[in-house]
Amino acid sequence: MCNQTVCLVAAELERQGIATVAIQLLREIALHARPPRALVVPFRHGHPLGEPDRPEGQRAVLEAALRMLEDRALRPPALLDYSA
């Protein structure tokens, strides 16, 4: 349900003029919910940015999210599969 919740909040943020990236743990839900920008990560529930105490891995996921924001070729709903 967490995946859907952040998708719905992302939509409201975008309506208020804030660009968003929603990290997603379930590709199927992201495809159905259609947040404006979804970064689907290959991690288990409870591990949205990878592993605990691995800041370099967490940074890499956030960097991928930032690159989505900079990608002017993306159109809504944009979905990208993250690979480390």
């Binding site: 909040v9 943020l13 003029g17 804030i18 929603a22 605990p52």
Partner: protein, 160 residues
């Protein structure tokens, strides 16, 4: 990636029957300036609250769609897990709250100049919501309005 097979049979059956929301039309805000000058906020659905903050109501039917304000200066180790779901392992985010509320990573991005500013506040939801009507009609728009008033350009959303 996460998979439905991670869940119990009871949860899988519920999720299969659940009527998931679909965002239509899909809103879109393009990034109009360099990230190095953008103000960034976090929205986490990990159910974190500050010590002393009212926890999310675990008994609320359909889930508690309210949100908590988390100040930028928070020490992540002080965050309290108030997420009601038993469908995921909480131990990793308890060990390292940055996993679901990456405030230290955001500070690093600011310090390196990759982003311009870390907003002075961020928002925490308890993502285990089966009834999303109030979220869509009230609490998500309220949170979005507050961040827009702050001049936030970018929000990064993290589920668990």
């Amino acid at each position: 990636m996460g998979d439905f097979s991670e869940f119990s049979l009871k949860t899988r059956l519920f999720l299969k029957a659940y009527r998931w929301r679909r965002i239509d039309p899909v809103p879109w805000t393009p990034l109009l300036k360099p990230l190095a000058s953008c103000r960034v906020a976090l929205v986490s659905s990990a159910g974190f609250v500050l010590p002393g903050q009212e926890p999310f109501d675990e008994m609320k039917r359909g889930g508690d769609s309210s949100f908590r304000e988390i100040p930028s200066a928070v020490e992540p180790g002080t965050l309290v897990d108030a997420h009601r779901s038993e469908s995921f392992d909480h131990s990793a985010m308890l060990r390292d709250p940055n996993l679901a509320f990456p405030i230290d990573r955001l500070r690093e991005l600011r310090d390196s100049g990759r982003i311009g500013h870390v907003n002075h506040r961020h928002f925490s939801f308890m993502g285990s919501l089966t009834a999303t009507g109030r979220l869509v009609a009230e609490t998500a728009p309220a949170a979005a309005k507050l961040l827009a008033q702050d001049g936030v350009d970018v929000a990064l959303l993290v589920p668990v």
